[in-house]
């Protein structure tokens, strides 16, 4: 859940149409007209994250306070609770586990968004606000939860939004654990902790 108070604004006098803002936007809210060499923002999709403003090489994007803030967020309908919890636990998350530290979004909200039709990280970001704070740390939980729901998205063509799902603790080969286990990495011990979190009782009840 996120209250969106900010909005990205493009300065047409400075924009060169380089498309970097296109490529880094986590909600696909910016499109560049390649004939006009000009980016434009879909105000309804812009989450007010810093990605485009922080990467524009021309300083052509700035962030302003919206006149009308709005909420990004997905409720978990009671009827979906069993399925939401199942997706979370299959993805090795506790349903109440935070997956986005900036927006305080939890795994169950992402799973609910997936059940409601968000089938890409970009659509999940647009609906829940996840990955619209720092834009860095919460990609893999989205991909793991999509995977657990049987959905295998492709990255946006030509975009830099994301490139691929990566390894989890449960997938580290035994040979690696044996080779490096004495160097302080504690692979199996961490899996034991993560598993106990996944199976911990809910606080919601």
């Amino acid at each position: 859940m996120k209250t969106v108070r900010l909005l990205a604004v493009v300065d047409p006098a400075k924009c060169t149409g380089c498309t970097i803002c296109d490529r880094v936007c986590p909600t696909l809210a910016i499109k560049t007209d390649r004939k006009l060499h000009l980016a434009s923002v879909d105000e309804a999709r812009c989450s007010g994250c810093p990605a485009c403003e922080q990467r524009c090489p021309e300083g052509a994007i700035h962030v302003v306070v919206r006149e009308r803030p709005f909420h990004m967020g997905v409720e978990v309908p009671p009827a979906d609770r069993v399925q939401v919890d199942a997706i979370c636990r299959k993805a090795k998350f506790h349903p109440e586990q935070l997956v986005c530290y900036c927006t305080a979004t939890r795994a169950d909200e992402v799973a609910a968004a997936i059940l409601q039709g968000a089938h890409t990280p970009e659509e999940i970001s647009y609906r829940t606000g996840v990955r619209t704070g720092c834009t860095v740390e919460c990609l893999q939980p989205m991909l793991r939860l999509l995977d657990a729901a049987g959905i295998f998205p492709k990255p946006p063509p030509g975009g830099w939004q994301w490139y691929g799902k990566t390894v989890t603790a449960w997938e580290i080969p035994e040979a690696i654990k044996r080779k490096y286990g004495a160097s302080g990495f504690y692979f199996d011990e961490d899996i034991e902790i993560l598993d106990r979190v996944v199976n911990a009782p809910s606080q919601e009840e």
């Binding site: 209250t3 108070r5 900010l6 490529r23 880094v24 989450s47 007010g48 994250c49 810093p50 922080q54 990467r55 962030v63 306070v65 506790h94 109440e96 586990q97 935070l98 997956v99 530290y101 900036c102 927006t103 305080a104 619209t132 704070g133 720092c134 834009t135 860095v136 740390e137 919460c138 990609l139 893999q140 830099w160 994301w162 490139y163 691929g164 799902k165 990566t166 390894v167 989890t168 603790a169 580290i172 080969p173 690696i176 490096y180 004495a182 160097s183 302080g184 990495f185 504690y186 011990e189 961490d190 899996i191 902790i193 993560l194 106990r196 979190v197 911990a200 809910s202 606080q203 919601e204």
Partner: protein, 475 residues
Amino acid sequence: MRPPIAPMPPRKSQYGIDPSLVRRRVSELPGITSITLKELFPELPDVIVPGPGGLPAVRRAAEATLDAVDMSRIKPGDSVNVLASHHGFTLLGGEPYAEMLKAIKDVIVRRTGCTDIRLRAGVGLRFRETEEYIRRFGLDTHFNGKAIGVAPIDQAIPIETEIGTLYGIKRVYDADWIVHAHNSDVREVHFHRQVDRAVKPFGMSYARIETRSTYHQNMGPRAANFIARAIFDSPFVQGKYAFSCFLTMSPNGIMGVDADRDLYALNERVTFTGCSLYGRVMTLFGEIDECIVALDFPCPVVYVFSAGVIYANFAGANTDLYDLELPLPAYTWYTEAFYGKQGRPLLPEIPPLNPAIKMCVQNYAWTGYPSAFFSEHIPTVIVGKEQAELFDRDAQNALYTSHAKILDTTEEAMAYARKTTGSEKVLVFDGAFGGLNLTEPLAELLLKKAPAVSRRVDEELLPKWLRQRGISSAA
């Protein structure tokens, strides 16, 4: 009472309020004194910064150690990326790290004849931070216009590793050779636990979001440190890796510069100093029974320094951050993730944030790091509406001020903290070089406790910490 040590001045940045709005430093208030780290721990090494030698001492140390490194693989027509990270620019004002970077470039030119040398400076979560440092320290000029900041959302390059595909930032690796230019300061010991500390940037400031998210979400609090090693050991990175050069740090300053082709040999030395020197300060901070913390440094909330360690370390000082048998310190992102909807940990053994911190007064700190966990669990006062408004505009801190109280002045905030908590012990995180600013009751406590802490570290803790990391004391 000894007078306070001059704190690190406010720094103009898009991530902090304008320095003119920092009207009072906490160290200027009545009752603040200082102690040096050498008073607490006389066994700490002598340092070159702070010291009379100044930046030329850093330059000499860098040149001396770099002259002993094999650079024969770098040829005159090659390209070299010197890889830097934002963190180095927060150490003792940043000039020493910048000077080391300049020295690296100059020595490579002198010894190899190679002139296409670029600077690629990675960041944490403030994507333009190193761009600010590049301008501030004249690195763009020194690197002939070839100095850029790189961010984790920039274009990726896939890297095949022993544990599958991970992703680096393409422009980090767009040269024939890379030089890893870092430092041995422990900083985020709550994350890296002093395991492969010297290797960490390969999984963090040189890495894409896929990799960083793997570290912080996919692996667990201790196993995560393997991510950087997997990338560094990959054939792709090894094919480009030339050597490493580190500022070597002690809590009381810069000991020197260490360069090595063998990063793991350097890592063992870094691990030893990280445990033996910084472990003393961490353990001593764990002896503080109650205090008010004052943040007053140009960095995000978690990264403000006192006695060479950061606020996030003190927030976890109620546990032994170096003890790898402890899976979850009081603060890591894994720990934060494991708090449920009622604001309590999902597992009973998860420790609370350091209960000795009775209140936190944020006189001056930056945005650009998700910090709401701290204001939610530690009573927090923010000085000045301008600072509060800046945090409200920060996408990473949507909820930070909603858990905090906002007061107009430093004096008002500190008086409020004293009255509310009843504590006369104040610990100031303001980056004072070589020591720390604090109130007299806290200074007395630390001076009394320090000798026993030293003995405990040497005789009991250090051997355990090194054993857990597979490093012998002899190393």
